[in-house]
Amino acid sequence: MIITIRLYATLRAHVPNGKKVLELDVPEGSTVTDLVARLGIPAQVVRKVFVGGVAREKSYVLQPGDEVGMFPPIAGGAPVQEFLQTSTR
């Protein structure tokens, strides 16, 4: 199924040519986590995900034609739990 992905802010640096809008053909039943892995973006860098304008968890199962927006941890967002960085100080 075809999924449209919009990458925001510094996430664009993680894909070839720094493209901001991508279309991908992914298997039925794929989750957002699967999608991030397919794109080759480190999981901890994708902090906030919106599907069709609604904030979703990464376990969300994608539907054909879904538009997925991804943000890095701006506006105070933390990297995801399993990849927490310790303080840089």
């Binding site: 510094t10 901001k20 941890p73």
Partner: protein, 630 residues
């Protein structure tokens, strides 16, 4: 003393007399600089009830200890006066290179009183000052004035603070510009300067700033670039400028659209920082000694009018107020509007927001084509928006009415126009929405100089998902219980109070809020104290940071109290309460009067102020060594 120059320049523009004050160390330790020092002189020199555009108003430009030191985020200057936009305390900060240069010229600040009989330029150089005739500069835009002054005084490195035609014509939200693209933007400080016939302040200096512990400062400064990649918000500022937040705000339903009727804008992407980077961005600029480089420089054109890199580029607020507020998705039009504001010296926030208000009036029929002089003011009309900016700067036609600001304009238009005003205490609300970041509802209401988005930390930096570093730093100022963004409960009020003091400190010590703060910034509260100590040699802790911030808040609140303003003025625009937002992630959301009243009760209690009047008590003022302000 270290850090400070130990000298304040006083200029009586009526008589032309200039004298240099050398305040005591106790004065510097008590007031520290910036807004607190400016308010000190304003309260002492200017009587209650004075006309903000009359000769009795006192206009101060103040630095602080760290200004001119080689570290990021210290080249900042605060202007203070009675505001012609609100009739209450006026307060605004600016960056660039002029603040550092003024310290190099041997001064900690300038206090301006009276009114000059003719247009003058104040020339400050290496410990000396004089007034020069500036009649030939009156009427010129900022770029031309700057070039002429540098040429006349024979030094291209002179820094120039000035008013453009906007300030000369006393547009109530006129700005004081420096380097023609940095603004003391809000509360109409440019109108005050223009009312005094002071066209420009030229500055040049060669004194180095003495500090006590250069090694510590150098170490802190070197750490800055190393941290940047791990601080996504600061890194985002470097790559995309403040516009890095636009798409995110839109996704969260917090991008003010069509005069605050919605929190989502269909064309947000077209005017975002990412799009700017891909199209018209020429370079990132910075301020003296700062590694962040958050400033945008663009080159483009709109309808054959060139937008020059010399005038910088639009920031988030500007992109929003001339963009989403007006329903406009044309980045070139917005860039030209930004240039016009920088050339004429206008606050982009109040200007864009006032135009959006006028568009809303037009849509509702409160303004007709006859009123607008034939200008079609439907939302989305970019050409009309650009035309209006110039008319406002020159006070021509409809521009003369809008130059009064949206609140006073609404009074003149009458009828339903009042309900369309999105302002607090007469100052237009900036592009952060209390519907989705609920603590803004409190701080917008209580801030003494009107709705301001740079007066405390925003909710996303204190919710359960915030980064560990944010929460670590918030804990330093006593906040250890993060809350969801849209709640305005007791803990959120506490967060507002504590971070308001930290931000108040940065406006007193003149530290840039993108570099120093209690959450996402390059340096945290402990490092703010460490920097002040390394510069001055005085003992500084985080408690001192909070106390100095609290003192300044009480000073500006006391000024307002003397003007008769208290709890009655601590409110929000009707639209935020009565008109739920439409569409996107904030569909149907509004703020309730009940939650704001409850928050106010707790806020005054935590501040130690009278709950009924909202004014600082004598006991509280005396505890802060401000007994003289009762």
């Amino acid at each position: 003393m270290y850090g400070y120059a130990g000298k304040i320049l006083h200029v009586d523009l009526t008589t032309g007399s200039i004298h240099i004050e050398e305040p005591s160390e106790a004065f510097y330790r008590t007031y520290v600089g910036g807004s607190a020092m400016g308010t000190f002189y304003l309260y002492k020199n200017t009587p209650a009830g004075a006309d903000p555009l009359g000769p009795q108003n006192t206009l101060s430009l103040m630095l602080s200890a760290a200004t001119g030191v080689s570290i990021s985020g210290q080249s900042r200057m605060t202007t203070t006066a009675k505001s012609p936009l609100t009739g209450l305390i006026g307060d605004s900060q600016v960056g660039g290179f002029l603040p550092a240069e003024l310290k190099f010229a041997g001064f900690d600040g300038i206090v301006l009183t009276g009114r000059s009989p003719q247009s003058v330029c104040l020339w400050i150089h290496d410990g000396q000052a004089e007034l020069r005739d500036a009649s030939h500069l009156w009427g010129k835009i900022t770029g031309d004035t700057e070039a002429l002054i540098k040429q006349e005084l024979g030094d291209p490195k002179i820094e120039v603070a000035q008013v453009g035609p906007g300030g000369e014509k006393m547009v109530r939200f006129a700005a004081i510009m420096n380097m023609s693209n940095r603004a003391n933007g809000r509360t109409g400080m440019g109108a005050v300067m223009g009312s005094k016939n002071l066209k420009a302040i030229a500055v040049r200096g060669h004194h180095k700033v003495k500090v006590t512990d250069q090694a510590t400062i150098a170490k802190m400064h070197r750490m800055g670039p190393k941290r940047l990649p791990d601080l996504p918000d600061v890194h985002g500022l470097q790559v995309y400028g403040t516009a890095s937040g636009m798409n995110y705000q839109n996704a969260m339903g917090g991008l003010p659209t069509r005069n605050w009727t919605s929190g989502v804008f269909g064309e947000a992407e077209a005017i975002s920082g990412e799009t700017m980077s891909e199209t018209i961005l020429k370079e990132n600029d910075t301020c003296y000694a700062c590694v962040v480089r958050c400033k945008r420089v663009v080159e483009t054109e709109y309808r054959h009018k060139k937008v020059q890199p010399f005038y910088g580029g639009p920031e988030y607020e500007t992109l929003s107020t001339f963009g989403s507020y007006c329903g406009i998705g044309d980045l070139n039009a917005i860039s030209l509007a930004n240039q016009l504001c920088n050339q004429h010296g206008l606050d982009t926030i109040s200007c864009g927001a006032t135009i959006a208000f006028a568009m809303d009036c037009f849509e509702h029929g409160h303004l007709t084509l006859e009123d607008t002089g034939g200008i079609d003011l439907h939302f989305g009309n970019a050409e009309s928006m650009v035309a209006l900016v110039e008319k406002i700067a020159q006070r021509e036609g409809l521009g003369d009415l809008l130059a009064e600001g949206s609140a006073l304009a609404a009074e003149k238009i009458g009828g339903g126009a009042r309900d369309l005003v999105v302002a607090v205490k007469g100052e237009e609300v900036p592009a952060h929405m209390p519907q989705v970041k609920r603590s803004l509802a409190l701080i917008y209401a209580v801030n003494p100089f009107g709705a301001d988005h740079q007066s405390h930390e925003h909710d996303p930096f204190y919710n359960p998902e915030s980064a560990p570093l944010c929460l670590e730093r918030m804990a330093m100022i006593g906040l250890t219980d993060p809350q969801p963004d849209r709640l305005l409960n007791q803990e959120k009020v506490k967060m507002a109070v504590h971070t308001q003091r930290t931000y108040s400190f940065t406006d007193t010590a003149n530290l840039c809020q993108f570099v120093y703060g209690p959450a996402w910034q390059l340096y945290g509260p402990d490092e703010m104290a460490a920097l002040m100590q390394a510069v001055t040699g005085w003992q500084w802790t985080v408690e001192d940071v909070q106390k100095i911030g609290e003192r300044r808040l009480n000073m500006i609140r006391a000024f307002n109290a003397r003007e008769g303003a208290g709890r009655d003025r601590d409110t929000l625009p009707k639209r935020i309460f009565d008109e739920p937002l439409k569409g996107g992630a904030s569909d149907g959301v509004s703020v309730t009067r009940e939650e704001v009243q409850a928050a106010l009760d707790l806020y005054y209690e935590l501040c130690g102020w009278d709950k009924t009047t909202g004014m600082p008590t004598r006991a509280k003022l005396e505890a802060l060594d401000l007994g003289w302000m009762t």
